[in-house]
């Protein structure tokens, strides 16, 4: 416990040298989803999910001002990340864009310390600077994180449904 008090915790933007460590977090997130929802076929990951995501981060997120990843660094270890992006909405809407959080992950052994909250707060701050009025995200109805999101002021918006053809 003493050592954890001395721990240096920092939420910051992703850097190129973080990439492989962040891909490991992405991989852990996917594996955790798979254990939680083994029958969720629509969201089954591609065989090359890690490589595809890595190239998406390098070629897309790093080159865009409309997409960002924040990581939590704790004693030289990356223990969590959040991805956020600005999404354009169809021109028929009066609100033209919104921010969307696609991934939020904190390694199991670092949970309960408020890291997830700090990551989301950082992402929301980034969204505010982009002048958007809403931040949204998609989550499984039964995922424990629903309570977490409610606590930090997210509320139910749309139900996502699926029909197997």
């Amino acid at each position: 416990m003493v050592s954890s008090k001395k721990a240096v915790k920092m939420i910051r933007k992703i850097r190129v040298e973080d990439i492989d460590e962040v891909v490991e977090l992405f991989d852990a997130l996917g594996k955790e989803h798979l254990t939680l929802y083994p029958n969720r076929h629509m969201y089954k990951l591609d065989r090359n999910a890690n490589e595809n995501w890595k190239s998406y981060v390098l070629n897309d997120i790093f080159l865009s001002k409309e997409k960002e990843i924040f990581v939590c660094e704790l004693n030289d270890v990356l223990c969590g990340y959040v991805t956020i992006e600005i999404r354009k909405r169809p021109p028929i809407f009066t609100i033209k864009e919104e921010a969307y959080i696609s991934d939020l992950y904190v390694l199991d052994r670092y949970r309960g310390e408020g890291i997830g909250k700090k990551l989301v707060e950082k992402a929301i701050q980034w969204a505010k600077n982009k002048k958007v009025k809403n931040v949204s995200l998609e989550v499984e109805e039964k995922n424990k994180s629903v309570d977490f999101y409610k606590k930090i002021n997210f509320r139910d918006h749309m139900k996502q449904m699926v029909l197997k053809v």
Binding site: D46, P90, F93, V139, M161, K164
Partner: protein
């Protein structure tokens, strides 16, 4: 009653119907507020001019009484499934509701998905729109997940 693919000549009638629904959606959240009189523009860009869009209309006595529209949606490359068909509109004129027209329209969309080798039809519906949720459940849709939202000031 006949169900057939939508044509460019249908956009005025479809546009009017689209605006009926837009009025209802408005009450749910500001994010649904649409530009005024956007109906014709919306159905044209979503279904008529869009190569990834498809719409069917329900016709009764040569009058359009409902339509359903869907658009192919690409999935992020990290997923095994590369695209889904996203059902974006199901509208039936109030006086023609309760006759199963909505279900027939959805069935047609499903057939189209099957012919085009699309495995999943997805949709988003407001939690406040019980009427629509019930229709989709009747059509066989199952819960997938939910979107949550936060207003930033």
């Amino acid at each position: 009653m006949m169900i057939r693919p939508a044509k460019r000549e249908d956009i005025l009638e479809m546009g009017k119907m689209y605006e009926i629904v837009a009025e209802v959606h408005k009450e749910y959240h500001p994010i649904f507020h649409e530009v005024e009189n956007c109906g014709v523009n919306a159905v044209t860009t979503n279904y008529i001019d869009n190569r990834n869009g498809i719409a069917f209309v329900a016709e009764e006595n040569s009058e359009i009484v409902g339509f359903a529209g869907a658009q192919i949606k690409l999935m992020p490359e990290t997923f095994k499934i590369k695209y889904t068909l996203h059902l974006t509109d199901v509208v039936v004129l109030p006086e023609y509701r309760g006759k199963g027209i909505g279900l027939k329209l959805i069935e047609k969309i499903k057939e189209w998905a099957g012919e085009n080798k699309i495995q999943y039809i997805t949709l988003s519906v407001s939690f406040k729109n019980n009427f629509a949720v019930q229709l989709y459940e009747k059509a066989g849709f199952k819960d997938l997940s939910k979107d949550m939202i936060m207003d930033v000031d």
